[in-house]
Symmetry: C2
């Protein structure tokens, strides 16, 4: 099944070798986006209230970790999944937010394939284990680190 672009998938399970690294580019975190997400999904004072946050441990409003994870996902879709015969994901094995994210931050993303094997649950698919990071380009600090799995179609299972 093709991605939304309608183009043929370029990368099947067989093309996705452990050790392969994908650059996800750099994403700017805008205040509007960050606050809209927090209002809808994570309305806590340290994600929304500038006055309280100024006196808090991080000195300013910080992004919801789920916003940061979603920003990572979008960069992963735009730079990897649109080029791949990607299916859904069974889950995430680790997700860490080692440093806070602030409005205006520029985050550079990377994904590396750690491991792969045929899926037991879904024949015709392979399961990849991947490591992802987002790094603040100004400070060099990682702000997101994750290890997750994803299903990808095998080439031989896909009709011409």
């Amino acid at each position: 099944m093709p991605p939304l672009s309608g183009s043929e998938p370029l990368w099947f399970y067989e093309d996705l070798h452990p050790g392969r690294v994908f650059d996800l580019g750099v994403v700017e975190v805008t205040e509007t986006d960050m606050l809209a997400f927090a209002e809808r999904f994570d309305p806590q004072w340290y994600h929304l209230d500038p006055e309280l946050s100024a006196k808090g441990p991080f000195g300013a409003v910080t992004a919801s970790g789920w916003f940061t994870a979603s920003v990572f996902m979008r960069a992963y879709v735009d730079n990897v999944l649109v080029h791949a015969a990607a299916d859904a994901s069974p889950g995430v094995e680790e997700l860490r937010w080692p440093a806070p994210v602030y409005a205006g931050d520029h985050l550079a993303g990377q994904v590396e394939i750690l491991d792969r094997r045929p899926s037991e649950a879904r024949p015709g698919l392979g399961t990849l284990t991947l490591a992802g990071t987002l790094t603040n380009t100004a400070t060099g600090r990682q702000v997101l680190r994750t290890r997750f799995r994803g299903w990808f179609a095998m080439r031989e299972e896909t009709p011409e």
Copy 2:
């Protein structure tokens, strides 16, 4: 530091005992919400395209797993964190999406405290390990399962 409501926190680290269970109520997944999230953060065909999804493995458009996680977070904020002296979270140890989520689904949430200990990284805070679930009320199937950590202020560290 108080939650946004301005009310005093009711639950400190000392009140949050392992074994305690919180009911997060039931949330309805609306199509508008689900698609808006996917367009912004996870624009893959199986989260957006009804025609392709009808022929796909899940039979209809399914929610992004990050949307489901964000819906869980909102229910956790509304039912637990607004009543607690909650700080940020260092991360998530497990996040699984064992069954798909569709528009119109009603999801019942629950959180249980698994473990707690004083934080080494942030003195004055305690780290809780919690287990969270979302369950489809019509089918009884779990659609999200997670094990995560959260920081909570200790009562004795908070000035009167």
